[in-house]
Symmetry: C2
Subunit: 349 residues, 2 copies
């Protein structure tokens, strides 16, 4: 006959047990313990412990409007980049006394909409967004309503909001500079379908720009679907066309995986065909002779997102202009961008 759902003691019961008022108990747990007399403080502490009392965040949020909840919208939770960022977000949230409500959209705008209104219904105080694609109406609406938003990695031109992510132009510059310095002359920029994902667009565009500026290099760009055999065919055609020394620049971790698979299937050895991936993955050092990558400071990005959000929350309605925080990648050079020594290569020490 006991309650089917678990019974939590309330502030009132603690008050009764301690022979005090609700207010005092509220103060005890609301960080105003100092204002209570030692005797009362003691009694309340004991009563609470005895009853196993824990303040109900839900009720607390109802009154004060402070849910202490932050939301994060992740485009693909199975993507190691997203998870790594999320890890940073989660740490920062905890340190700041917030909890994190995570929603995975699976790159589907419909799910993004659903999750967005769900998060809204829990009155999250702010939102970190790794958008699925174009900005949904819901997102626009939430921004307009004054809910602090920070766009992570992917951003949306139409949306005035803070942004945190990689300096994509710099990343592509570093990639091209490295490949060029290593002696590769024919470059292929390989991406997942560019669509509306801003990092892909930016990397893609920067690649084009750099190529047009450097006559010593020539290149191609493609953004095939990664499933199926498109990548292999594409690589084969590129290599036939381009002549050597040629290299592939992979726009993200998924592409690196697909390209590595394809190159292997073609029986080509890494290094002889250059390979450089944006995003460091834990197996990149494993595939002989190691895959060169540009590692993103993922945790830092996550933490920065939270920090930015909390800054917005603090300044009240100060309506500061959107702030963009960009981070630099780190080059991890491995064998996949080292040309095998040839007769023409004697000058190399």
């Amino acid at each position: 006959m006991s309650a089917p759902t678990s019974r939590h003691p309330t502030i009132l019961e603690v008050a009764r047990e301690a022979g005090a008022s609700k207010t005092s108990v509220s103060r005890y747990f609301g960080g105003e313990r100092e204002r209570l007399s030692p005797a009362l403080r003691q009694r309340i502490g004991e009563a609470a412990r005895k009853l196993g009392y824990r303040p109900n965040q839900i009720a607390r949020g109802l009154k004060g409007g402070r849910s202490r909840l932050l939301g994060m919208l992740v485009a693909d939770i199975r993507n190691s980049y997203s998870v790594a960022v999320m890890h940073g977000v989660e740490q920062a949230c905890r340190e700041q006394g917030y909890s994190l409500l995570v929603a995975n959209t699976g790159n589907d705008p419909a799910q993004e909409r659903t999750h967005l209104s769900l998060l809204a219904s829990y009155r999250v105080e702010g939102l970190m967004i790794n958008a699925a694609g174009q900005p949904t109406r819901e997102l626009q609406a939430m921004a307009a309503q004054g809910l602090p938003l920070v766009l992570v990695d992917r951003w949306l031109e139409e949306l005035e909001a803070d942004r945190v992510g990689l300096d994509n132009a710099l990343a592509v510059d570093m990639a091209i500079d490295h490949l060029s310095a290593q002696g590769y002359r024919h470059l292929l920029f390989l991406s997942e379908p560019v669509g509306l994902a801003s990092p892909r667009q930016q990397r893609w565009q920067r690649f084009e720009q750099r190529l047009s500026e450097e006559p010593a290099l020539d290149g191609e760009r493609h953004d095939p679907a990664l499933d199926g055999s498109a990548v292999g065919a594409l690589l084969k055609a590129f290599l036939a066309r381009a002549g050597r020394p040629a290299a592939v620049l992979c726009a993200n971790g998924n592409v690196t995986l697909a390209a590595t698979r394809a190159l292997q299937a073609l029986g080509l050895s890494l290094g002889e065909v250059g390979l450089l991936g944006i995003d460091e993955l834990d197996w990149c050092s494993l595939v002989p002779p190691g895959i060169t990558t540009l590692a993103q400071p993922t945790e830092t990005i996550g933490r920065a997102a939270v920090q930015q959000l909390l800054a917005r929350l603090d300044d009240g309605g100060a309506a500061l202009p959107p702030r963009h925080t960009l981070f630099s990648p780190t080059l991890i050079a491995r064998g996949s961008t080292r040309l095998p020594a040839t007769d023409n290569d004697k000058e190399t020490p």
Copy 2:
């Protein structure tokens, strides 16, 4: 002068706008739309749309005691197994109309305690737990309070709760059977420090049991820390001791990664030294000649966890005995468990 935090319209405002009562609006959104007259229904719908009204889950949870929140405690959010399970959990939650509050403990009991009480304070209706190690008092307390719990992957003997995970004995059986069938005779079971993590214990014990039953095989077991060079030294010593054909059985994905690294550093080729890993990782097909794995049905496990939790929620206080749901792995055979042909091996087709 407007509210610094975003203003959400309330049920009362909608009621006024629609010329109706709070009750009717509540009914409209509470799934009792049928009971309203078409005219009223229409008016409320319009008013809500006009105002951008969204029911406040927090207030809703306060009254009804139904937060519509499920919690998940993850031991390591950066572990691809955990993430994959979480993905299943998340999908199932959404399908069932629940939201998911995720907490990462980083395998730290202290953080587990913190997060646990946090989740409790949000009045989650149930908890999925990928425990850090030994059961914390908090966990015991929550279970005692009647909060539905389901242990995922790792379980705790002291805790009477539903369990979902891999059939570890079966997994080790399949691994040993496969290695044996492939001609390996000397086996090394390699694990992360066994400690109190139940899957490691179970796999470890089953390995021991099987080895003791099969005179044709001999083996060793070790659970070194994965950082540093311990794994390499250990492998080297094992191979020197064991004679061939020898194989390594990796107790989880992290171990597979470490073992592969170490084997590579030793200049040993996979297959010649057998390698089989529990947990499929996306790069296992990439490292030549491919790493044989036992893949877990991760998403299924996640969904099963949610299903089990909801079943508990449904049956009220029926206090059914704990239910254990075990799943079978799938063997993905690759080159790392294929012995190179030798003179003694002529009978192989």
